[in-house]
Subunit: 340 residues, 2 copies
């Protein structure tokens, strides 16, 4: 039997916070004690874990940061302030915000791909990648075993839960005839919003004018995780009126020719991927991906407009593999390899 660990969740009442709790249960992470933190607004809220009620505490400087594992999803500001305190007391921190993703001394981890980068990282803070990045790199990491990747063109179809509980509430309210705008600049019911994040975000932009934060994250995190800083990636990120599940239409160009049979084979055998053979009705949808830890890929076909190119359609649950599930998978692997 593995021993149990003391785990803290910071941002416990958000959508990802809820999912952290579910993923700890579903993946049977050995928890000895679970401490839930949130802002003062959520103090006293109750969450169930393994059949027991846990009262949510307010995160303040007076907290006790001595845990073995801290899972953060409370925004970059909270991560920047509090995660070094947990890490300083010996905890492993897995942070779902974008605060540390681009830091050279922090590992940005999808466990199927680059878990080993944790060993060479000087920090005990591990960054969890952006939701839309994780599902893309899962497929790209498998594909690059066939031939070097040359260029990726991505268009995303991202659900409202990518914008947290406020995004979900806005969609639900609008469905009931309400006008709650939530985090979106335009109605999201019966509509699409081709802007996720800010335009020309100074943290990410580096002269790539006209892109949104989400698009730049997708580009730069993909390059970092695949350890190909010069990989050519371009992206258009779009919010769609779907509750859960992000989808991506992806055009992949290789440096060399690849065989479709081999494409299916490497995707089928890659851990964490579910591959759909071509044609009806065998393609993944966000409804199907709900609650799943796998990344689904289908509609794989040659792009006849250019040599060595494929089109495909990639779907995953943005709260599970795109966020909390990936983080708990990292934690489990830390246990498995003896780092935790």
């Amino acid at each position: 039997m593995m021993k149990g660990y003391r785990v803290a969740i910071i941002g416990a009442t958000g959508l990802v916070g809820d999912r952290f709790i579910e993923s700890l249960e579903e993946l049977k992470f050995p928890v000895r004690e679970l401490v839930l933190y949130a802002s003062s607004l959520s103090r006293g809220a109750i969450r169930k874990f393994q059949g027991k009620d846990i009262i949510v505490r307010e995160l303040t400087r007076a907290f006790d940061p001595v845990v073995d594992l801290a899972l953060f999803s409370a925004g970059s500001k909270i991560s920047l302030e509090y995660s070094p305190l947990f890490a300083g007391k010996g905890a492993w921190v897995i942070d779902n915000s974008s605060a540390f993703r681009r830091d050279e001394d922090k590992a940005l981890v999808v466990p199927e791909i680059n878990f080993e980068t944790i060993r060479s990282s000087p920090s005990r803070i591990i960054a969890n990648p952006n939701c839309s990045t994780i599902q893309l790199v899962m497929v790209l990491a498998a594909l690059r075993s066939l031939a070097p990747l040359k260029r990726i063109v991505v268009s995303t179809y991202q659900s409202v839960t990518g914008a947290g509980r406020e995004g979900l509430e806005a969609l639900h309210d609008q469905r009931r005839g309400g006008t709650l705008q939530g985090p979106f600049e335009f109605p999201i019911l019966d509509n699409l919003v081709p802007k996720i994040g800010k335009f020309d975000d100074p943290i990410y932009s580096e002269g790539e004018d006209g892109y949104t934060t989400e698009e730049l994250k997708l580009i730069k995190e993909t390059q970092k995780i695949l350890e190909q800083p010069d990989l050519k990636v371009t992206a258009t990120a779009v919010r769609v009126p779907v509750s859960v599940g992000h989808s991506e239409s992806v055009n992949v160009e290789f440096e060399e020719a690849v065989e479709l049979d081999r494409v299916h084979e490497v995707l089928r055998t890659y851990p964490g991927l579910v591959v759909r053979e071509p044609n009806s009705p065998n393609f993944p949808t966000p409804l199907e991906a709900r609650g799943r830890y796998e990344v689904f890929v289908g509609r794989i076909r040659r792009d006849y407009s250019r040599e060595n190119c494929l089109n495909m359609w990639i779907v995953a649950d943005n709260l599970v593999k795109g966020a909390a599930g990936n983080a708990v998978q990292i934690a489990l692997k830390l246990v498995k390899v003896g780092l935790l």
Copy 2:
């Protein structure tokens, strides 16, 4: 004053049929008499035109095909059977089905782009392009004045009205908690369906395995309208839970460098386009495009992953510019140039 014309609408009770009537009114097409045809199921239905009730007739072989203009949107089978009868009696036929679009002797017309091809066509049957094609070629036709087009990568976000009244009813029923499937293979509420039409449709496929009818239409109709049969185009077509308005994420590669200022200028000055300058919140959405005859283009930016490439976002009302509106614009131009 222009004289008035006898106009027939075939498929008068469908969504595009309704839109034909509205567009004849909105664009002030000079109608002397309007005859509405539909299947036996709709016989006796009533539609208002210019304040008067018109009773829908059943289209049978006993009908009187003597009109000046026949607007068809009743599916390919009806178009193949009946449009030659109307044309044979001297009518101009504008057909919204895919029956004639690939015929070499039929013009496939977006009036801003290639109206003149009607003059060289031996047929009085004019094909109206597919909805997703029209909004794409409007932008491409403007852009190619800057530099030759090399390759286009399109991902679509297509509304349920592209699947007709049944598509709309399915979405509405599902929003009310119902399970009406309509024309979709999976639920469309809270979901995406990356399949529009059939896989490997023998009419369109020509060995391009794995594509849907809609994707192949988009590719081949674009090539025909732009008169560039070798233009490289690849497409992924996706149904989204939006009532009205199709959107497209488009990557355009040119043969040569283009200046962004010039891109904006040629788009701004092209008839029928509304161009949005970059950045917040200046991007088009399907809600905004509803009921409009223009094609909206925004999020225009350099693609830093490859030389001479741009990304952009194109939106139009699929029932107006994508169908009925384009057809009535063609009819008006027939009048204007004296062909009708």
